[in-house]
């Protein structure tokens, strides 16, 4: 549904996005993850046709935003980081305005539907300026939904909201994602991605450093262990355990073990690893890293983690199938 190919964007000498490629299938909910300034917003703005890329393409359903801007934009709903509101309009007038410029046929019906959808029916007559931040975020969502787009692009939809509002928006997003709608949302709140998305694309310093299903990304490392007598012999013994696909020596006797893709019983694997490591003075054996660990590992330092053999710079094989 969405296909980003070798996208590159420079602002003068600043290289905001470097050769980003990823793909989102129809009906999928994908989280765009990365620290501030990683290039998430730039990528989304290019996707929605707000700005042009320096090179590369962004395709929606096989069509380039630049070749057919009107056709493509009619199918995308975009909620920027700061909702693009006109503060002194009423909610209803604003959503109707959005419906009109998005070339909806029945403006009033579409506006009422979108307002109802985001739960703003009671405040439709109120001036946007006087609404709380959470409500304003909903008005922004109504604007993105009003033309019933196939693709929703949401830039940090819960930023700056209090926890209760955040949960509400998250619920709303889950409802919106149900069905055939394809959703890309960016965030740096990891819990949000885990709650809503099925897959994440991690961007760091303008590059894609990982693109995986959350479950795979979070549990790529099957175990973390520390032994008192590290060495080549120890490494070989642990790597030889069936189900271990890779072993990373992190120094100081610390090892990170990656499980092969077909291993389902991580507990059994850890038991086997423990038996092998016990001969080398096993000190600690931790369970798999969470999404947070994976995220921190991927976004620390400059550029892709060399320990991962440079692989994550391009989308991982699992997602290209």
């Amino acid at each position: 549904m969405i296909r980003v190919e070798q996208l590159d964007k420079r602002y003068g000498s600043f290289h905001a996005v470097r050769q980003i490629s990823f793909e989102v299938r129809k009906g999928e909910v994908v989280g765009l993850l990365g620290p501030n300034g990683a290039g998430k917003t730039t990528t989304m703005r290019i996707l929605c046709g707000c700005i042009g890329a320096t090179s590369g393409r962004a395709l929606i359903d096989g069509k380039d935003v630049l070749e057919d801007p009107r056709g493509v934009k009619r199918r995308i709903g975009y909620l920027p980081e700061v909702p693009p509101l006109y503060p002194n309009m009423t909610v209803r007038d604003y959503v109707r305005f959005a419906a009109t410029i998005k070339e909806v046929d029945d403006v009033n019906a579409a506006a009422d539907r979108a307002i109802g959808r985001v739960g703003l029916s009671d405040v439709g007559h109120r001036v946007i300026e006087h609404l709380s931040k959470g409500f304003r975020q909903r008005v922004g969502l109504a604007q993105a939904l009003v033309h019933d787009p196939d693709v929703l692009v949401l830039d940090e939809p819960t930023s700056g909201l209090d926890p209760a509002q955040r949960v509400e928006i998250r619920e709303l997003l889950r409802e919106l994602a149900a069905g055939d709608r394809t959703v890309i949302l960016s965030t740096h709140v990891l819990g949000e991605v885990e709650a809503v998305a099925e897959r994440v694309v991690v961007i760091h310093q303008g590059r894609v450093v990982a693109s995986d299903r959350i479950a795979d990304l979070a549990h790529a490392g099957a175990a973390r262990l520390r032994i008192s007598r590290p060495g080549a012999e120890a490494s070989a013994a642990i790597a030889a355990v069936s189900g271990v696909s890779a072993l990373h020596d992190e120094g100081g006797g610390l090892y990170r073990v990656e499980a092969a893709a077909d291993v389902s019983d991580k507990e059994a694997l850890r038991a086997a690893i423990a038996r092998a490591a016990v001969d080398f003075g096993l000190l600690e054996l931790g369970a798999a890293e969470g999404l947070e660990d994976a995220y921190l590992r991927l976004t620390s330092g400059s550029g892709p983690d060399p320990r991962d053999g440079g692989r994550p710079a391009s989308p991982s094989p699992q997602t290209e199938s």
Binding site: G49, R70, I76, P80, P84, L85, N88, M89, F97, I101
Partner: protein, 255 residues
């Protein structure tokens, strides 16, 4: 087309949603009304004196002595006012980030520019509508030439429409309304006083510069003489400013 008009309608509404719009409208109607009252008083004194003068007062008439100076004063007020009306057109959208709604909608840049400009023209029409009472009073008390009134209205509208086009262009270059205001006012003032060039430096260049001036093209129209050349000047001036604004909006997408 529907989308363009929706933008125009929103822009027009915006003027009435803010104190700025009402301030401009009320101020304009008040000041033009005040000018008109003072000028009518002055005119009636002059006409009375001329009637008693043994040298005759045939030359004094409403058209030349009242309508013309009134509209040239109105033009000066509009010169001061228009930058304040046009400053928000793009600067505000960029500042409050609502530009992204327009950019991510299936609109092209020309529709955005045209819509915003039409909205500003709509407000200008409301402003000029607020001076119509002066014409009614003239008809009630005197016998003005409808042709002169009409061509003065047209000329003033075209002149102010040019002001707004310049203002919109400067507004597209900054996200600060104050900067847009100052720059467009400076530009308009520059274009205005170019007409002095002819008298200050009576040469070919002075003539050319005077020709570019916005003011010099009003002269004939204020006398009720509608020349195609003058109308074409204003229309091409507006066209150029709109084109430049359109290019500027296009450039945002590519910078």
């Amino acid at each position: 087309m529907r989308a363009t008009l929706a933008i125009a309608r929103r822009e027009l509404h915006q003027y009435f949603e803010t104190p700025m719009g009402w301030l401009c409208l009320c101020g304009f109607v008040l000041i033009t009304g005040l000018f008109f009252a003072l000028m009518t008083t002055d005119y009636s004194i002059q006409a009375g004196q001329a009637a008693m003068s043994p040298y005759g007062g045939q030359d004094i008439n409403v058209n030349d002595w009242l309508i013309q100076p009134f509209f040239s004063n109105t033009a000066v007020i509009l010169l001061l006012l228009c930058p304040a009306l046009s400053m928000r057109l793009f600067a505000e959208d960029r500042r409050q980030r609502s530009m992204e709604l327009l950019l991510s909608s299936p609109l092209n840049s020309a529709q955005i520019v045209l819509g915003k400009y039409l909205g500003a023209l709509g407000f200008l029409a409301v402003l000029l509508f607020g001076t119509l009472h002066t014409a009614l009073i003239l008809y009630w008390l005197g016998d003005p030439d409808p042709g002169i009134l009409a061509s003065n209205y047209l000329g003033t509208f075209l002149l102010a429409a040019s002001f707004l086009a310049v203002g919109m262009l400067t507004s597209a270059f900054t996200d600060s309304q104050v900067v847009a205001l100052v720059i467009s006012f400076g530009l308009l003032l520059g274009l205005w006083i170019l007409s002095w060039a002819d008298s200050l430096a009576p040469s070919t260049w002075g003539g050319v510069l005077a020709h570019i001036s916005m003011l010099s093209h009003m002269e004939q129209m204020s006398k009720g003489l509608l020349h195609l050349e003058d109308v074409a000047y204003y229309l091409s001036f507006i066209g150029f400013a709109l084109f430049a604004t359109w290019q500027r909006v296009e450039a945002w997408r590519w910078q």
